[in-house]
């Protein structure tokens, strides 16, 4: 089981509180989208789950507290896809994906044939064989995002944390990246927690949305419940129309009066 449970989690940066007393639970295999205005604490929650930032309260994955795990054990449970992954100049796609095996190696360990086999399978799964020996700096934006997903997948962690998976992609590539993540989630029973700013897409792909405002949970539930005109107007200070699209999700459309 790889459910993620946060109980009374608070995070502060240099004494300034960013997340307050947050309770949240994500079921194994679920996709939860963290939504909310800029600075609401979405990224901070992801960083706390991956233990990249100290927190108060309790976070557990599959009923084990993350604070009791070594950092390598955490990395075997949780793969993180940051918003703007560093793409080292001159590094090939294969080499980059191979870095995802780090949590399975000892401190000075060397990748085995099995590790290389897993990388090969992941690269094949994402149809990147043609790009395997290409340097990262010569990939397009969409290809880079796929490479980053491949590296996270090579980690073989049951929980995938994603920070803004579609920023700086056009609408077609946004859809194909999200479809890919969703397919992988089903195939490999991944638990996905993603910070998302595209509200319509968040509603279409996630099972539930958690709306964060000033580090607190304002609402959590399916898209139809969370994405209301009132809530979005109040918390985002945006003028929107929310349209139910008969089985195709909830559209949040900005309007200009």
């Amino acid at each position: 089981m790889s459910d993620v449970v946060l109980a009374g989690v608070s995070v502060a940066y240099d004494g300034a509180p960013v997340v307050w007393d947050l309770d949240l639970s994500v079921a194994s295999g679920e996709w939860l989208a963290l939504i909310g205005p800029n600075g609401a604490g979405k990224t901070t929650i992801l960083r706390a789950i991956a233990r990249l930032v100290p927190f108060r309260g309790a976070i557990s994955i599959g009923s084990r507290a993350v604070t009791e795990l070594s950092s390598r054990e955490v990395a075997r449970q949780v793969a993180v896809l940051v918003q703007e992954p560093q793409m080292p100049v001159g590094m090939t796609v294969s080499q980059y994906v191979l870095l995802g095996r780090a949590p399975h190696l000892g401190y000075l360990g060397k990748e085995s044939a099995r590790d290389r086999g897993i990388v090969r399978e992941v690269v094949r799964r994402l149809s990147m064989e043609e790009l395997a020996s290409r340097p990262l700096d010569r990939l397009s934006g969409g290809e880079r995002q796929r490479a980053a997903i491949a590296r996270a997948l090579a980690q073989q962690a049951p929980v995938l944390l994603i920070d803004e998976p579609t920023s700086s992609l056009d609408v077609g590539r946004q859809q194909s990246v999200l479809e890919l993540i969703d397919q992988l989630r089903r195939e490999q029973e991944l638990t996905v927690i993603a910070a998302m700013h595209e509200l319509t897409l968040a509603g279409q792909y996630a099972d539930r949305l958690a709306l964060l405002v000033d580090g607190r949970l304002a609402a959590v539930g399916p898209a139809a419940e969370v994405l209301t005109e009132r809530a979005i107007t109040e918390h985002y200070r945006a003028q929107v129309r929310v349209i139910q699209m008969n089985g195709s999700g909830t559209a949040v459309v900005p309007v200009r009066s």
Partner: protein, 354 residues
């Protein structure tokens, strides 16, 4: 609890995936070849002509003229071996510093090792010339201690200011410590005029050696340093990712950084203690390898050892012959040969790769 990911690993052996990091053997062989050739040049070049046959005979324990044997065993062989150790160490330490600090301009002296060594040597030359401790000349000891003290000072200062969160804090601390040590060194050098020439020649760097003593003196540190950096080459590759990304892979970033910096500093302090501050090797050798061969530290570290060693032995042979019978400081040759080569490499490859 185990990962539930079901990536299946096929049992038969399919073709290996392209682009995996590995040391290109032709280049490794070329590096080894270059090292052997440069060592041969280093042994054969000198005021007294000694033929290839005599060198081979000396090496395999055959019949050699005693005068020639003496020149080879007490002058040329130790000097070439010292060149190998110094060049390899400076190149590898430079590569390691560049990796740890993610800064292409980082060289082994970045955290003040050169300034500390210069100050230590200057103090020893000015105030305690000819002294030795436990049979070891005080100058290399003072330089070694100075280099270690400067880097430790920079580390402590950087840590107290930024808590090692950023490499920039450490680099700035190194700049401050180096400036401070340099000012004291300049003051001592200017006020102790009797020793100014010796101090100046020490600072410019040279491989004039007392024989095997210097080699044996630095050998343990150099081996330890190179081995420690070598086993971290996979982790140095991982450090090229962002801070959060490396940490989320379960890699203890700070520990890696600390061990590699200590190892590179130990090697640098040792070679600086016997050879002075030889500039440029730690920058151009790793960068030339990155531009021409590959950027993975699995390539850069081992090839820096080979090509750095070859380059310095060759530069030393040049330093001994250009104005023979006098000698040029080796730093003059490393920069004079190295800079145009490096510019040519930069122009012929994509500058964006820097």
């Amino acid at each position: 609890m185990t990962a539930t990911v079901t990536v299946s690993v096929v049992s038969e052996r399919p073709a290996a995936l392209a682009g995996m990091p590995r040391l290109p053997w032709p280049w490794a062989a070329a590096g080894l070849g270059a090292l052997v050739i440069c060592c041969a040049v280093g042994v054969l070049v000198g005021p007294v002509h000694i033929g290839v046959g005599a060198v081979v005979q000396a090496l395999i324990g055959g019949q050699v003229d005693p005068g020639q044997a003496n020149i080879l065993w007490s002058l040329r062989f130790p000097r070439v071996v010292l060149g190998v150790l110094v060049g390899g160490t400076l190149a590898v330490s430079g590569a390691a510093y560049q990796g740890v600090f993610r800064n292409p301009l980082a060289d082994p002296y970045l955290l003040g090792a050169a300034a500390g060594a210069n100050l230590g040597a200057t103090l020893a030359i000015a105030f305690a010339p000819g002294t030795s401790i436990l049979g070891v000349n005080i100058i290399p000891l003072a330089a070694f201690v100075g280099a270690g003290a400067a880097v430790a000072g920079a580390y402590a200062l950087g840590r107290s200011v930024t808590g090692l969160r950023s490499a920039t804090g450490l680099i700035l601390a190194g700049v401050a410590i180096a400036a401070f040590f340099n000012s004291i060194q300049s003051y001592v050098q200017q006020t102790q005029t009797a020793s100014i020439r010796q101090v100046y020649s020490w600072i410019l760097g040279r491989l004039v050696t007392a024989g095997w003593d210097d080699v044996l003196l630095i050998l343990p540190y150099v081996i330890l340093s190179a081995a420690a950096i070598f086993v971290h080459r996979r982790l140095l590759d991982a450090l090229t990712l962002g801070e959060d990304e490396v940490t989320s892979l379960g890699i203890p970033v700070r520990r890696v950084r600390l061990i590699v910096v200590v190892a590179a500093t130990l090697g640098t302090a040792a070679v600086v203690a016997v050879a002075g501050t030889i500039a440029f090797v730690g920058i151009i050798v790793p960068h030339a390898i990155r531009l021409l061969i590959g950027r993975s530290y699995r390539v850069v570290i081992p090839l820096s050892m080979l090509f750095g060693a070859a380059f310095l032995v060759l530069a030393d042979a040049g330093a001994r012959t250009v104005v023979a019978p006098a000698e040029l400081p080796i730093g003059v040759i490393t920069a004079f040969l190295g800079a145009p080569f490096f510019i040519a490499v930069m122009r012929s490859t994509r500058a964006a790769a820097l």
